[in-house]
């Protein structure tokens, strides 16, 4: 069945096909059974008909047989008196209407020693019962010779009467004996001739349905009766078989003359139609009666019934076709409109009209779901539009915040082009639009440069606000000329004072004496910066035991100092550098940073910053940036200030 055909077509095809198969099988079974039943019935009827007919024929033949048998018995038992014998023979012909003629034929010289042949014969003619002697050559006639040779009574083959008429005769011959000198010797043959026209009438009168008929075969297979008169006494069933080149017919004939009973399919010569043939022998003469049943006539009822059934089935199929088509249409019509509506919706028309729900079946539910889906889609798209608008607004605000935050940080490098004593360079890359890292540097007076790096806990807008506060506070406090640890204490106090969200910031603050290279610093819980000495060593600055700002209001910070020689550097960073992770969640680590620092210490500081930043990004690879990254590098040059070393 083509896959692209509609449901209506598939439904109709499958249902009709199934119906056809079911009906076909049922019909075939029913037909077979009915046929068998009828055939069985016919066979039974055939058997009954044949038994009745053969009995009827045998009764007559048996009655005829009695007559010569009794005469033979009389001849054997009573001494032979010529006159008495003639009287009995004559009476026998006169008194038995079936018997046409009777003879007593003696063996050569048995009647008396002088007479070769003695055979008195009485027979019926138009002049009444007539007598004559049979001519003396009777010894080799079948009616005499066969019972004589076989020593038993026998029916002759049917023959035409001597008058040359159309009457078929048969003779029953009984040998009779006499005891002489202790030996039983055959004396002659007693015969009774009968006409077979009564037999022809009985068999010829059998008619079954329109064209069924019966026929009788002699022991030689000769047709004794048959509706086709030209076959009678001319043809045997075997010559017919030869003429028709029908070996099966010959076999049937052999079975028949073998005095068997049977029932077999047969081809009627009369009607040229298929028949069934039942056959059965006559007990008396061994002749075989066959009855032919025309198959199609006896099956006529079932054939007409079949025709009616087929007509009804055809009508039923047509009706079924219409019903299926109706059902299929009622299903597919809403489906088709749903399909086009779905296409409309998919094309963006969320207000596409849906078919009206007309029933509570599956299609109705589908239409309901469609309507619900349409509503839900509409709602969702509306929500999405609103959310998107809000998000865009926030994003734009964040962009502005980013710009503001970046604006707080010094961004111009080199920031102090007229100071050759030191170089400073920094970079900050927030993980989100706005970050919580900070750095700053500014001159406190002509000799002292304050620089700071910090990292607010958390990220995003709150962190950035906290960062801005911290940056502002640091700048405010530092410019008051305070020592680094005092700056941190004050900033810490201010931050801690009003910190409901419990945010904190790690902060490193250092002050460089640009003349001596002396750096005073205080570290509030921040990653200790590295000091890169001119001997190539990279070491962390010793800590000041400070803690993150904004946690303890009255924490006491301390300062330490370190002296930088010319060319020596401080490297400040936030944990965004060392805690950057690659895709396998391996940390960038301080060790990797220290190694990298050794590689880059000869570079100009802006390039150094870029290289370290690039190294971190390269390490992280495709892993998203988790934290803000801040780097600040300060290189002390001390140019032309060598004498100041001693003052510090």
């Amino acid at each position: 069945m083509p896959r692209h055909k509609g449901i209506a077509f598939k439904l109709a095809c499958l249902i009709l096909l199934s119906c056809c198969v079911i009906f076909g099988l049922t019909f075939w079974y029913n037909y077979g059974v009915s046929r068998r039943l009828i055939a069985k019935n016919i066979e039974k009827n055939a058997a009954e008909l044949m038994i009745a007919t053969t009995n009827q024929l045998d009764r007559v033949l048996a009655a005829v047989e009695k007559v010569p048998q009794n005469l033979a018995f009389f001849l054997e038992s009573a001494p032979c008196d010529g006159g008495q014998m003639m009287d009995i023979l004559k009476a026998l012909v006169e008194n038995n209407p079936e018997i046409y003629g009777a003879a007593i034929a003696f063996e050569p010289y048995s009647y008396n020693r002088n007479t070769l042949a003695f055979a008195p014969y009485y027979f019926k003619s138009s002049d009444g019962v007539v007598f004559r002697y049979l001519s003396s050559d009777y010894f080799h006639s079948d009616w005499y010779q066969i019972p004589h040779e076989l020593q038993r009574p026998i029916w002759s083959e049917p023959y035409y009467d001597e008058g040359g008429g159309d009457i078929i005769m048969a003779t029953y011959s009984v040998p009779f004996y006499r005891e002489a000198l202790g030996k039983r010797r055959i004396m002659g043959i007693v015969t009774a001739d009968i006409s077979l026209d009564w037999l022809q009438k009985i068999v010829g009168g059998i008619q079954i349905a329109e064209t069924g008929y019966a026929f009788l075969l002699s022991k030689n297979g000769t047709f004794v009766t048959h509706p086709r008169r030209d076959l009678i006494m001319n043809e045997t069933i075997f010559s017919l078989a030869e003429a028709r080149s029908d070996p099966a017919l010959r076999e049937v004939g052999r079975s028949m003359i073998d005095e068997q009973s049977g029932y077999t399919p047969f081809f009627c010569t009369m009607t040229n139609k298929a028949c069934w043939m039942g056959y059965s022998p006559l007990a008396s003469s061994g002749w075989s009666l066959a009855v032919l049943f025309p198959q199609n006539e006896l099956m006529a009822d079932i054939v007409s019934l079949n025709r009616t059934v087929w007509t009804l089935v055809l009508a039923g199929f047509l009706l079924l076709l219409f019903v299926i088509a109706g059902i299929a249409r009622s299903i597919t019509r809403p489906l088709r409109s749903l399909t086009s509506a779905a296409r409309d919706i998919a094309g963006g028309n969320l207000d596409a009209p849906l078919p009206e729900k007309r029933s509570g079946d599956e299609v109705g539910h589908l239409a309901d779901s469609f309507a619900y889906m349409q509503q839900a889609l509409k709602q969702y798209i509306q929500d999405l539009t609103e959310t998107t608008a809000a998000k865009e607004k926030i994003e734009s605000e964040l962009r502005i915040a980013h710009e503001i935050q970046m604006g707080i940080l010094p961004k111009v490098f080199p920031p102090f082009p007229d100071h050759s004593e030191f170089e400073i360079c920094a970079a900050l890359e927030p993980a989100k639009e706005v970050g919580g890292d900070l750095y700053d540097f500014f001159f406190l007076d002509e000799r002292h440069l304050c620089f700071t790096v910090g990292d607010v806990s958390g990220k995003g807008v709150p962190a950035s606000l906290f960062m801005a506060i911290t940056q502002t506070l640091v700048k405010t406090k530092a410019t008051q000329g305070l020592a680094p640890h005092v700056v941190l204490e004050r900033v810490n106090r201010d931050l801690s004072l009003d910190n409901p969200s419990l945010m904190f910031v790690t902060l490193f603050l250092g002050i460089l004496d640009i003349e001596t290279g002396e750096v005073t610093y205080s570290n509030g819980g921040h990653n200790p910066p590295y000091v890169l000495r001119s001997d190539g060593s990279v070491k962390q600055l010793p800590g000041t035991n400070g803690m993150a700002l904004g946690v303890m209001e009255d924490f006491v910070f301390r300062s330490k100092s370190v002296r930088l020689g010319p060319g020596e550097m401080l490297f400040l960073y936030t944990d965004g550098v060392t805690e950057a992770m690659d895709v396998n969640e391996t940390l960038y680590s301080e060790a990797r940073l220290e190694k990298k620092l050794k590689e880059v210490e000869e570079m100009p500081i802006d390039q150094m910053v870029r290289t370290i930043m690039a190294s971190v990004h390269a390490f992280a690879g495709k892993a998203p940036q988790a934290d803000d990254i801040t780097i600040l590098v300060l290189r002390f040059k001390g140019l032309g200030q060598k004498g100041a070393d001693g003052e510090a």
């Binding site: 080799h140 040779e149 076989l150 002759s156 035409y160 043809e235 075997f238 010959r250």
Partner: protein, 326 residues
């Protein structure tokens, strides 16, 4: 050779000269009823072959009531078919019959037995009852059993095969073209039968031949020759036109009120063709009596006491040679 041609031409002259010679009246009697055994003669009459040869022929139906030998002697018929032995016997009895054509070359007489009676070979007939016909038909069986040293009980059988079919005899005499087929058409299959053909036992007695009385031949040899040629022509026509011939045979039998079966007549016609085929295979030699066949039959008959002396071959059989023509 030119003489022969001239003679043939002269003989054939009246036929096409358009000067119709008056037809000579003649009568012919076959041994038996008008069955296919004699189809050639009836066909020749039907197709006008006799007329074309200048004969106004009447065919008298033969049969037990009408023995051809009697008709021949009485002059009722000028031509008759007889078995070779019958001809010899008649001549021995002083009736001057002359064989002018030996139509059947091979003996169709046979014995047939049922395998169911345990008979497989001719030797199995020892002590059995064998059905035979009249004396002439007993010649071959007697000779055969004598030759083989078998002691067989002969029973006279009628012209029906019923005695054999009912097991009244163990073996029966049969003509291949007639009774044998009748037995088969009474339901016995060929493979259930054992046939013994006398011609296969060195006892080939040619059967049907055409006979005339010596005076008839002397008086009008041309008539005899014409009859023979027309008859042979009739036979060859019959063999070539089987269905047409069978139509005629069936019609004749029906008119004679003789029960008849077409397939049986067909069998008979086909067997006649087998039996009449000359030993050389050339149909042009139809009608020849071979001296060896003649001597075999005659000497056997003399030995069996059927005849006193063996007539001179040339006096018994006269070929229709061209110099006998007018």
């Amino acid at each position: 050779m030119p003489f022969l041609l001239l003679a043939a031409l002269l003989w054939a002259l009246p036929a096409w000269a358009g000067k119709p010679a008056p037809l000579k009246k003649a009568a012919f009697i076959p041994q038996w009823v008008p069955q296919a055994q004699f189809a050639g003669y009836y066909m020749a009459l039907e197709k006008g072959f006799y007329q074309a040869h200048g004969i106004d022929l009447t065919i008298i139906s033969g049969g037990p009531a009408n023995p051809p030998a009697d008709c021949l002697t009485s002059g009722q018929a000028q031509f008759a078919t007889l078995w070779l032995c019958t001809g010899l016997e008649m001549r021995d009895r002083g009736i001057p019959v002359v064989n002018i054509a030996q139509m059947v070359q091979r003996s169709a007489l046979m014995l047939v037995a049922k395998k169911s009676s345990g008979i497989r070979t001719i030797q199995d007939l020892q002590g059995k009852k064998v059905g035979v016909w009249g004396p002439i038909f007993q010649l071959q069986p007697r000779a055969l059993f004598k030759k083989l040293g078998l002691d067989v009980q002969f029973t006279r059988q009628s012209y029906s095969v019923n005695l054999f079919l009912r097991d009244g005899v163990d073996a029966a005499s049969a003509m291949w073209y007639n009774e044998y087929h009748t037995i088969i058409n009474a339901g016995l299959n060929p493979d259930e039968l054992v046939p013994f053909f006398f011609h296969e036992y060195g006892l080939n007695f040619p059967e049907d031949g055409i006979y005339v009385l010596e005076p008839t031949l002397q008086e009008d040899p041309a008539l005899c020759c014409a009859f023979m040629k027309a008859s042979i022509k009739g036979w060859l026509y019959a063999f070539d036109h089987v269905e047409e011939t069978l139509d005629l045979v069936m019609k004749n039998l029906k008119e004679a009120h003789i029960p008849a079966t077409r397939v049986h007549q067909k069998w008979m016609l086909e067997r006649m063709r087998d039996l009449m085929r000359p030993a050389s295979g050339a149909w042009s030699e139809t009608g020849l009596l071979l001296r060896a066949d003649y001597l075999r039959v005659a000497e056997m008959m003399q030995k069996e006491g059927f005849i006193d002396a063996v007539p001179e071959f040339t006096s018994f059989h006269k070929d229709c040679t061209p110099d006998a023509a007018p």
